[in-house]
Amino acid sequence: MKKILFLLALLVGYNGVSQVVDEPFDKMVLGDKPGFNNAIREIKLGDLHFERGSEEDMAEALPHYMVADSFHSKSAYLNYRIGVCYLSSTQKYKALERLEFVKATGGNEKDYPDLDFHLAQAYHLDGQFEKSIALFRGYKETLGESDAEMRFFINKKIQECKVGMELAKTPVRVWVDNLGPQVNSKYSDFGPVISADNRELYFTSRRPEGNIGKEKDETGYLYEDIYFSTREFEGDWNAAQNIGTTVNTKSHDATVGLSPDGKSLITYHGVSRKNGNLLITRKDANGEWEKLENIGSSINTDYHEEAATLSFDEKKLFFVTDKPGGLGGHDIYMALWDEAKNTWGEPVNLGAPVNTEFDEKGVFFHPDNKTLYFSSSGHRTMGGLDIFKTEYNAETNEWSEPVNIGYPINTPDDDVYYVVSGNERYAYFSSVREGGFGEKDIYQITFLGEKKEPLYASSGLVSGALPIAERAVAENYEKTDMVIVSGQVKDKDNGGGLSSVITFMDANTNEKIYEVMPDANGNYMMVVETGRNYAITSTKAGYTLASENLVLRSEDEGKDYVVDFSMQRLEEGAEFVLRNIYFDFDKSTLRHESVDELNRLVKIMEENPTLRIELTGHTDSRGVTWYNNALSKRRSKVARDYLVSKGIASNRIETKGMGAKQLEVSDEAIENFATVREKEEGHQRNRRTVVKVIGQ
């Protein structure tokens, strides 16, 4: 018989049909087991705290219950109490399993009057919004007329669940990563602030490693200290270090805000439970933090100033306080830097739509100088405090309606103290999550942006395959030293294409090598032999001359060059450059190869007999200023003399020398050119004669 029963038990177990049964701490059943009496004692100690009901008491109760739980974990009573304690702790996610156990054992309203309320909260925190709403609604039915406050609370929770359902449908594409053991510890690590370039991270920690005071507060943990970590370009965060005794004291020191350049750090100093102030420290010229100082009497009050952020130019300070006169709870205020008084001016409450009757906390002003991130329990949250963003419109002097930044950044639990890198790729926050190192850890959010849709190759439009009409059989190539030159001739005034005449002259021999007419749109393309220095000009009646220079060597073979021209109608003010006027080195003697371009200018002057021009000589930057000035002046005069020798009246030509004052290619640019040839070409562009029409 025993064998049959054993087999049945096995089968039931195998099929997974096991009923959850409450197994109370019954002396008749468990009394013989070692540790029973101790477990009962721990439960009683836990109950003492639990019945008092505050968060701190729940935190006190939980360790006692956990001792009893390690002895026997199948008691509905104990699981219920542990579940409720977890709901008040930082490890809220652990509550659901406990409360579900109680429900599964048949735990009812009579034994556990608030079970559905707590379970609804646990479902809410676990993101099971529909189950949560059903339980909240059921629980609301049990409330009496006098429970208006609870009814209000439950209605808000139901609304949060609805927002949660909505946000969960369209999650933000992010990765959320624990920053790892280089930054986090098994103690509480929180309050991250970063520099805009994402290279410096400061945060608050209660770890013993490096802690300055080594003393514990009433919670049994060490006083908070500020730590920092740095990273290189594209690198990981380095091992965190205590910021040191200049900033950290024996008491609580916590991060609040960091200026975008990482050189001003705002910290929080708790005076009492209800009074906290903001302090500031700045890095000196050696990169060392200076002594902390009160951020300003206009900011700190006898109330709770707890979060702050500076604008990029450090002229605006946003901070959070619960001082009277706000819209309710903690509100966000802004103060402007008063240059004259060298202090912060009188703060102004940001008002609606940013602040609400509920809490606004954890403010962060992005380096873009318009986006303000903050946490609120008053806007459309999916639970507790959610992070929102609002943008400032400088034209209307208004803040936009705050927008929930979405799930999974926001969760049904409190989400607060959130900072974003300057390029908006990363954000940091602290949270208690499964898989963390213990207590609060710092997490990094990586924004992936909009969903990237893959590309699909199309079978596309099919074209017919023309039958081969004629074979183009290649014979031995005769010429192999060619490049292709293409470009466009444009009317400088209207941007339209111009059909001009483009002439390629050999600048050394003044021999015409090629002549081409661009199409109606001003486009041209031609094949050009290498091994020459080409003076290229574009001419058209009634227009200025356009000139370029192109030196083609044998090693340029096969390259493609683009030479564009811009031409203007010959009207007063029109200006063009002669690039092929050559002088002997360091002299003002006109070289033979310059005459083609000057002859073209003569032609323009002849065709337009009332035209008056100014010739301005420019040198490159090599040589001393006075010499370059004189040389450029002499050279423009030589050019004028040539025009006069060709019959152009001298009173139609004025001359100027600019030396190297107006370089087309800067010395810095030339310095950055890779080859000697490029550098020389840069200097060549600077050596030019500018023709300006000064009368028509």
Binding site: N423, R425, F447, P454, Y456, S459, A474, E475, V562
Partner: protein, 344 residues
Amino acid sequence: MKKVLLFAFLFPLFAMAQNGYSEEAKQAFVQGNEAYNAGQLSEAFSLYKKATDLEPAYAEAYINMSAIRFEEKSYKEALAYGRKAHNIEKVQYSIFSNLGKAYFMNGIYDSAVYCLERITVFKPLTDEEHYFLAAAKVGAEDFVGARVIADKLYQKNPNNSDYNVLMGNVNFGLGEYDKAIANYNKALEIKPENKFIYSNIANNYIKLGEEEKAISYIDKGIAATEGVEKVAFLILKGNYFRGIEDLDNAEKAYDEAYAIQPNNANVIVNQAAILIEKEDYKSAIEKCNLAISKNPESKEAFFNRGIANEMIRNVEQACSDWEEAFILGSEKAEKFLNSSACNE
């Protein structure tokens, strides 16, 4: 202002052109030309091969080998030989002409346009070259540029089926779908055996939102074609299903196409895209790798591999893939490259 253009398909020069070929090589080349002109393609190819074995920088021989392979419809080889010739000689009429057409037949349209446009520096383009240039411009989505050329060809011979298809393709690109359908129908009237035209008509109906008509033309094409010709219709069918978010049927169509033509990079790219949509990123990367091995200039393959690499958190490689896709002409990749993901 002058500037040196970066040649879209610039290769390192391994040898400079040299006309001082050996007499033996020259003789093989001349004999090759005789055989080629006589239509003896195989004989000609062997002689050119002999010439290049003797003179590895014999650009003229390579380009004629390319032309032979083109005539034999071996377009990949045609492109490879064309590139070899261009690797040695940059500016020659026969290289621009043959290489341009080979680029077109391999779906590398920007490079095809580059080459074919440069023919003009030597002589006016033939009708055939104009046709390829216009079709390449369609492929490169320069529909306005394509229309100028296509119009001229069509005016010359309105009863040429291929010109009608070309006009249809241009009109499609310009959003004039009804006109395009009329062009295709006329092309079909002239050459009813050109079943590929069904796919062009289906593309137009998809654009017009007339999905039933589109799928009927796709199915008509699938029924009327055999082997490789069916692939274009299967891709179209897959894309149609993807458009209505029926990923399973889309995948089925691409898989069917892959079974017929496992070397078709476009088919593999689309298989990868489906895998990305199904969040199977590792398999998607493998598929993209395969597509790239089949067509190293598939911007879609690099683009998609970038997405898959990002999703498996290999962001550096993702950015490198997008950079490659950008170089190959993907504007979408440029957007990602400029995003904070690739610019810390």
